[in-house]
Symmetry: C2
């Protein structure tokens, strides 16, 4: 496959941080695109739908809409509409929380749990295949460095909030 992506035209003298960021975005875009395509081809579903089911599967006690929105992989313009559709299809239910009936709690139904259980192993296998070229050590190191990057972005947010980075 002749590949052309947004690293293609970077000059060797471009800054390492900029090159790292564009390569990170290349990797994320590549993997996300392949997962989207395979979800569609294998399960006739979309990434935002898979994403909602995955988050609810990890929260047996359910999540409020706010908690759910904050945990979704892909920013989704309309989580409410998506959840309503899943409720109509019987995959998700939405009920008042027993301890505070003003708050709706969203959970997987048994049918939703079964549907997710069919997709999850396929998703794991796709990710495993796409990352097969990395040794366990590479993977652990990459995971750790990405953790530092995440911390670095959050630290930059705090500097902006404190006004210490006003020039940027």
């Amino acid at each position: 496959m002749a590949e052309s992506d947004y690293e293609t035209a970077l000059r060797a003298d471009d800054r390492l941080d900029l090159r790292m960021w564009l390569r990170l975005l290349t990797c994320a875009t590549m993997i996300e695109g392949r997962v989207r395509r395979r979800l569609r081809d294998s399960f006739d579903t979309t990434l935002p739908r898979f994403d909602v089911l995955a988050q609810l599967d990890r929260a047996p006690d359910g999540l409020t809409m706010g908690e759910l929105s904050g945990r979704l992989m892909v920013s989704n313009g309309n989580v409410t509409a998506l959840v309503e559709r899943l409720v109509r299809e019987g995959l998700v239910d939405s009920r008042p929380r027993p301890d505070d009936r003003r708050v709706q709690r969203v959970r997987l139904t048994e049918s939703g749990r079964r549907q997710f259980a069919r997709m999850a192993p396929a998703n794991r296998a796709w990710i495993a295949a796409m990352t097969a070229g990395l040794s366990r050590d590479d993977m652990a190191r990459l995971y750790e460095l990405l953790g530092r990057l995440k911390g670095s972005v959050s630290a930059a947010d705090r500097r902006v909030e404190e006004g210490a980075d006003g020039a940027v």
Copy 2:
């Protein structure tokens, strides 16, 4: 800032490759969101517009629409409409290529080049601030590991094309 993202509910026993992928996507989403917001706040522009100008700035001889599409950072439903708008605003021009007049070649105008030159240093400063928590060695190592990951994804594509990975 109380943070909740899609790593929040991962169980410690989830596979390292899956955790790495979700963390990678977290980082990409965080940085991309901040760049979008700052482009809007500082330059009243969007990431796809910035992206087109950046790619054309790196290609003094211009690009065909196909080359341009392949190099954009963010998948854009309608590159043609975006380029037409930039042409109307006088930032970009689109002319037949001298050696093959059936092919349109898109280039920055002088005004487009000036506009990009105002935005590029700000973008570099944002990325520098967000990655400031990583040492030069961390950054080089992260860049290299992301290169391995990119190669691994492409290798998985080739296995699928060759039918060797039919089960996945």
